[in-house]
Amino acid sequence: MATLTDAPQNPRPAARVRTGWDANPVLRWMRANLFSSIASTITTLILFVVLAKAIVNLASWGILNAVWTVPGNDTNACRAARGIGACWAVIPEKYRFILFGTYPFDQQWRPALAVLTFIALFYVSTRRSFWRKELVLIWAGALSLIGLLMWGGIPGLPFVSQERWGGLPVTLVLATFGLAFGFPLGILVALGRRSKLPAIRSLCVLYVELIRGVPLISLLFMASVMFPLFMPEGFNIDKLLRAQIAIVLFAGAYLAEVIRGGLQAVPRGQHEAAEALGLSYWQRNRLIVLPQAIRHVIPPLVNTFIAFFKDTSLVLIIGIFDLLTTAKTAIIDPAWQAFSVEVYLFVAAIYFVFCFAMSRYSRQLEQARAER
């Protein structure tokens, strides 16, 4: 350790007197970050020209020459502007269908409320002060509320079968229920994979590697085509539920690998100390090991959640009406067929907002940990 001596403190270097353009902080910043060398200057100039051109083109397509409204279904104005300007008029015309699918029109406040409940649930889950056991109850309560809103069936809320659900709520349902059921499954499988019992370990390895080795599409095909084949004759369950099962199994395998990483990061001493206290296997894991392991892997857990939030869009291929499928269906209408790019951009923006918020959050967690 360095000892404090009476050696003179480092005197602060006298502030250099800046003169000319060097005195201007903006110019100084530009010199350091944009024109530091000849190569950097050339790069900046080329990028600036390309960027300026792209921005001008995009602005003239997306704003200046865009058609914002058209009377009724008369898309002649849009057709006239084709290739020069965007036809944003398709969004106000179709947004209810894109967001909520074929849910009864006068009841669409219910899925809207369900979406808000989802967002509130995500927000609450990100707050450190809510990382307690009660969070499980909050999730159970919120998911039941969402089920009640979507299905209804009580006085005042007429029943809506899940065949009529569509759009954003379906995407959120698939992803969130995938997490809610995949997470406990993942914990069990991760524990099983680290178990000393060979039969259980190999079953878990087989499950994880099999699911991770094949594309999600083949699991969804299995759910949509093979599931009825494997059930007793005459027994069938809804397509949405079948896809949900496939997504839970898929999420379980990926989450198991993330949680296993966390389990490996918990020192052996924690296990041994818990064992010395006479705790049983389940007590050891529930009270000592898992709480530490999961805290370790919250950022990768969020990233996994982002990944399968995006992957829920694959249900399009088996014909389930999630956000992407409603968007694709909205532009089957001949009057609007030519304006799919606008609709895709609109849906991309929705996905982007959700994923970007989550990835910012995960990065904040990582930075907070790095600073500790």
Binding site: N33, T44, F221, M226, Y351
Partner: protein, 395 residues
Amino acid sequence: MTISTPKRPPRPRMQFSLRNDQFKGLLWQILVVGIAVVIIGWLWSNAVHNLSVRRISTGFTFLGREAGMPITDTWIAYNPRDTYLRAFIVGLVNTLRVAAIGIVLATILGTMVGIARLSANWLLSRLAAIYVETLRDIPLLLQVLFWYVMMQGLPPARGAWKPIEGVFLSNRGLIIPGIPLDSAQYGIIGLAVLGLAVFYAIRRYLIAKQMADGQPRRIWPYGLLLVIILPALVSWLAGVTWTISMPELRGFNFAGGWTVAPEYFALLIALVTYTSAFIAEIVRSGIQAVHKGQWDAAAALGLKRSFVLQQIILPQALRVIIPPLTSQYLNLTKNSSLAVAIGYQDIVSIANTTLNQTGQAIEAIALIMLVFLTISLSISLFMNWYNARIALTER
């Protein structure tokens, strides 16, 4: 510790009591395996019953039947009268060619973007960051559909875009000048590949010698000789002709040249840009993981900056990069199955059509899983071997 008797303690006899851990473990295993066996058996008996009711015979005999499905974009000869087996092979080749080319392009693009993100130039690093953030946060399927719509929105063949002479971009896809290949040309290409292998062996030998005596040696002349000059000489002596076929517009379509179908092109662009965003992040964190002192130390030795990057920084960064890069390669391969959404006939799409035509659901999906498990396993094995090769050898 002092153990005076070398005799091993007697193996504790298993006690059939719930307080005994070993016995409990055995019970748990029997329970879990029993449940798994019961569930699988129940599913299987249901399947057997359902199949007999629907009069679908199990087994892979259907592979020998005539497929009768048209496949438009193929690399190997195929016509609808061929068997299902042949159709599956065509689909497999289609999957492999989009995955292999996609992996190469995504690696190049991703590395460039990853290095750009670390650039001292603010504008360049910001643009790279925006590229990564945007592409990562939008579902790949949406991007595939978007690029496909963009391809369809291109002008028809007659009004095709012509960025440079001989290259056409239209709603028929991308058409570029091609070189017609026959057995003679393939022979020359094979010779060049062989030359590359020999060159690689020579390079290893020369590097080993340099390691021994510290004397730098020129390596590239051997490459030039073996890969280019020798095959060119053989080709000239044997009289192999190389012609360039320029595409030209005939009627409503193009003749000559090589055509990249719009479905393939859209899928490839989407896969490459999406995966490159992830690879960029991996490359960035890999380079950042190399300690700054390594740059300073190399500079203090007076080494050239390009030499430092190639010989000192990259080999160390690769150790951090390879494992996550492997999983991106696997993801790209699995994601190539999104082809089914835009009608590019990869293995999944072919299996799906087969399934609809024959009802052989179990076999078709089993084939998909078999193919992807094999590909995944091969990529992991190769990358594990590569990773072990570049791993730090500690004394």
